[in-house]
């Protein structure tokens, strides 16, 4: 096991998937491409293993598994195992040396952004695709709280479904290829998604950007009708549809909460021309780099000045229909008709 288990994003790239998980490796790659990502650091899979070893949780889990007999095919037992393993992990304190190292990194982050007790997001970052890696804690403040949330993310690798997955794949039970991403919370003025392809038609000559006031969750979850900008990649001309945006997601002391959009903002576009152009410019360059259409998430910060306020939190290959199924069937139907004339 490597001694080093915490990395800054500029030390990482897509080749570090196995070391820190997909999300962190991706943030590293984005940093390398010159995309502005929220400042923060990544905890590697080694960090997880170090914790399991030094805290004694690993040994305890092994004992539990040995004693509980065959779990395969017994859902009741798997549910029980999930509960037991998670409580084993969450009952452990982080070993002193590790806690200190994590604290040092957090304090350096505070220094970097010139804030005391900077609020961060703590997200799981799996190295392989397996269930139970969706854990996210927002608005985490202070080193002690951060330590607790990191342990929680680790324990989230032991949901019942994740246990079933390990049994099916014959993976060792106490193993979890999981990293953790720690990122400064952006004080989101507005946020949303950006696709460099029209998802419904597969038209790659356009970029579609959707956004709402506040955090991006409201756009990603599809609960509200966001503002929509369809931009031509070649000439930069765009069409926009501005919706009446009634609700938005904001931070609350315990995480996030849905609130009302102030009346005067509801019918105003959430992006101005300059910001839109910047999103288009960056997304085009990222698509160019990866050579496939991208699905990206962006946030515009309240406090910083343009363009330092444009942050990216995610980029991945876009999923899109080459042609929407019903459209192609409709076309086939129309083609049949030409033989009837």
């Amino acid at each position: 096991m490597r001694q080093k288990w915490i990395y800054w994003y500029d030390e990482l790239g897509s080749e570090h998937n196995d070391l820190v998980g997909k999300k962190c490796a991706n943030l590293g790659e984005m940093t390398r491409l010159g995309l502005r990502v929220p400042p923060g650091f990544a905890i590697s899979v080694d960090g997880y293993e170090k914790f399991m070893e030094e805290s004694g949780a690993g040994a305890q889990i092994r004992r539990y598994i040995r004693e509980s007999g065959d779990l395969a095919g017994n859902v009741g037992k798997q549910v029980e195992a999930s509960r037991a393993i998670r409580s084993i992990i969450e009952s452990k304190d982080m070993p002193k040396a590790m806690e200190q190292e994590l604290q040092e990194h957090y304090l350096r982050l505070c220094g970097l952004v010139k804030m005391e007790r900077v609020p961060v997001a703590v997200r799981s970052s799996g190295a392989i695709s397996m269930p139970g890696q969706m854990e996210t804690y927002l608005n985490v403040q202070g080193a002690r709280e951060l330590t607790r949330k990191v342990i929680r993310v680790w324990s989230s690798a032991f949901t019942t479904r994740a246990i079933a997955f390990r049994l099916e794949k014959k993976m060792e039970m106490e193993k979890a290829p999981i990293g953790v991403a720690v990122l400064k919370m952006v004080n989101a003025k507005c946020a949303g998604v950006c696709l460099t392809v029209m998802p419904t038609t597969g038209d790659t000559s356009k970029i579609i950007i959707e956004g709402n006031w506040g955090l991006g969750e409201s756009v990603v979850s599809g609960e509200i009708t966001p503002d929509q900008f369809i931009v031509d990649k070649e000439c930069g001309e765009y069409e926009c549809t501005i919706s009446e945006k009634q609700r938005m997601v904001c931070y609350s002391p315990t995480g996030t909460a849905t609130g009302q959009v102030p009346k005067d903002l509801r019918c105003k576009p959430c992006l101005d021309d300059l910001e839109l152009k910047e999103l288009v410019r960056i997304s085009k360059s990222v698509e160019e780099h990866f050579q496939v259409p991208q699905d990206m998430e962006w946030v515009i910060d309240h406090d910083l000045n343009f363009p330092e306020n444009v942050f990216w939190v995610q980029t991945r290959p876009a999923k899109y229909a080459k042609v929407k199924r019903d459209d192609s069937e409709y076309l086939a139907e129309l083609m049949t008709r030409i033989f009837k004339m």
Binding site: V323, D327, Y330, A332, M335, T336, I338
Partner: protein, 560 residues
């Protein structure tokens, strides 16, 4: 006098064949002048097979492909119509499923076929025909036959599917936007695309640029095309040039001047036509005008797309735009398939047959290697393994004699049953709804508008107006007569004609439709093309001043 059937089983038999169908049309685009026996055998057998295969794979509701016959070096065709309503309905159901791959992933489909066929060519080319054993030569020939057969399957399956989409787009433009394929806006939407044929032309232009930079341009300017190669080989710089040029030809020079024949050398064998094109580019000077033209066309296309899309209701725009993208690929396919399919396969046929021809000559079966083109595969097989045991001259002599006779007397444009006239025959073609018949062979019938007082009426293949000296060109050999600023007058054109489009101001062709070669290339070069005038080559004389107005579909002969 007929010696043996050239295409056994598919020779035209007036009595039986007019019973089967009352109208047989000459394929004037491909079989004038008449084919050599070997080429005719390949075409009649496999073009016929490919059309029926393609129509069947797609389950075209109204037509089962075409039937072909061979007569005196000419190919005669008729349509195989679906006869009962009930069968049409059954085929419609299948067609709806079969056409989906074209809609869902056109590029994947076409690129897959290109890869497959190029793989076959590579395999065929591995054999060094001079060193091969007789058996290897014969095997190579058998594989070539199989490759030709496969080429036509791909060819016609792709062509039927592609043109069906194109016709639908035309129809939708007519009903939703109110424009048809004679409208300039329509032409703008389908032009401004690169394709493999243009890329080859551009490589030739680049060689011209290199010749200028390296001071070799005088060789090109002073020598006639057939002497350029020798002259280049006199200097080290010229030798280096020819080496790279030969490498280029081995990549992209697998084609002959005449697309549908094998009795002329490929560029690989004789670089004269290719060097002649480099010469033309050097004489003309300036930039590669397709690049300049393309930039303009792309802008025009985008404007035209916007104009058309703005007239489509928002909820229809999704599928309409998809259809438009698909139709735009038709032009690219029309040009590229000539390169990857017809020309390349025919070059492979020539290569393989000539390999055997040389061997037959060496071992005494015939006198000249090219005499092999007067044999058909069964006869080649007769002497294949032991050419020293057979004398094929008696067949060759009689076939050659017949072939010279075919040349003297042109084949009739159609053979009709008594009491059946040309209008009725054209009616059958149109009723078939056969996408290839409609878009390549027949085209739309010109409207005669006496108030315009034109000498010839045609349809618009590419919009624009031009005035210039007419140059009537009947075969590829005469292409060097074309001068800058001429208006080309021809029966029809094919890929080896493409480079002269950079010289001319306009085109008049006797036959053609919006997906014919002249229309596609005319649009890419931004010059007017009037098509389907029927009597252009008969009425217009080289040297006359003429005016073409493609927007109206008219041709005026200014000095009569």
């Amino acid at each position: 006098m007929k010696v043996y059937d050239v295409v056994p089983g598919l020779e035209f038999d007036p009595e039986r064949d007019l019973e089967q169908s009352p109208a047989w049309f000459l394929d004037a685009t491909h079989s004038v002048p008449p084919w050599t026996p070997m080429f005719g055998w390949f075409w009649i057998n496999f073009c016929r097979h490919g059309m029926q295969w393609g129509a069947e794979k797609l389950s075209l509701p109204t037509v089962k492909g075409w039937d072909w016959r061979f007569l005196n070096g000419g190919g005669y065709l008729t349509l195989l119509l679906v006869k009962s309503e009930e069968e049409k309905q059954r085929r419609e159901v299948e067609f709806k499923k079969a056409i989906l791959p074209f809609i869902q992933d056109y590029d994947g489909l076409w690129n897959g076929f290109v890869k497959e066929i190029l793989g076959r060519y590579e395999n065929l080319k591995k054999l060094e025909t001079d060193k091969a054993t007789n058996i290897e030569l014969l095997d190579n020939f058998e594989e070539t036959i199989d490759t030709c057969r496969r080429m036509w399957e791909i060819h016609m399956y792709m062509m039927y599917g592609t043109y069906t989409a194109y016709i639908l787009f035309e129809n939708m433009c007519r009903s939703l936007v109110g424009i048809d394929d004679t409208s300039p806006v329509f032409h703008h939407v389908v032009s401004g695309f690169d394709n493999k044929v243009f890329q080859v032309d551009k490589r030739l232009w680049q060689f011209g640029q290199r010749a200028i930079q390296e001071g070799l341009d005088d060789v090109f300017k002073q020598k006639e095309a057939p002497d350029i190669r020798e002259a280049l080989l006199e200097t080290p710089k010229g030798q280096a040039f020819m080496k790279d040029f030969t490498d280029f030809l081995h990549e992209d020079g697998w084609r002959m001047q005449r697309m549908s024949e094998i009795n002329l050398p490929t560029w690989v064998e004789d670089p004269t036509p290719a060097l002649g094109m480099v010469k033309q580019f050097i004489l003309k000077g300036g930039s590669f005008n397709l690049d300049d033209e393309r930039a303009k066309l792309v802008t025009k296309r985008e404007e035209a797309e916007k104009e058309i899309l703005s007239k489509i209701p928002a909820e229809q725009r999704g599928w309409f735009e998809q259809l438009m993208r698909l139709a735009q690929k038709s032009g690219i396919f029309s040009e590229e398939h000539d390169h990857y399919l017809d020309l390349y396969t025919h070059a492979m046929m020539r290569r393989s047959a000539l390999g055997l021809g040389k061997r037959f000559k060496r071992l005494g079966a015939l006198d000249h290697e090219e005499d092999i083109f007067f044999l058909i595969p069964d006869e080649v097989r007769r002497a294949g393994i032991n050419p020293d045991q057979f004398n094929m001259r008696y067949i060759i002599d009689r076939r050659k004699e017949a072939w010279h006779e075919w040349m003297k007397k042109p084949n009739p444009p159609a053979i009709l049953k008594d009491g059946f006239d040309m209008d009725q025959a054209m009616g059958v073609l149109i009723q078939s709804n056969d996408p290839i018949a409609l878009k390549v062979v027949v085209g739309s019938m010109p409207q005669v508008r006496p108030e315009l007082k034109a000498d010839l009426y045609g349809t618009c293949g590419s919009p624009g107006v031009a005035e210039g000296i007419a140059r009537v060109i009947m075969t590829e050999d005469e292409l060097h007569l074309v001068q800058e600023g001429d208006i080309l007058v021809a029966v029809s054109t094919s890929p080896s004609w493409t480079p002269v489009f950079s010289l001319i101001k306009g085109v008049v062709v006797d036959r053609g439709a919006s997906l014919s070669h002249a229309a596609i290339v005319g649009r890419e070069y931004g010059i007017p093309v009037v098509m389907n005038v029927f009597e252009g080559t008969a009425k217009i004389k080289s040297g006359q001043r003429i005016k073409v107005d493609a927007n109206l579909g008219t041709v005026y002969i200014l000095d009569k």
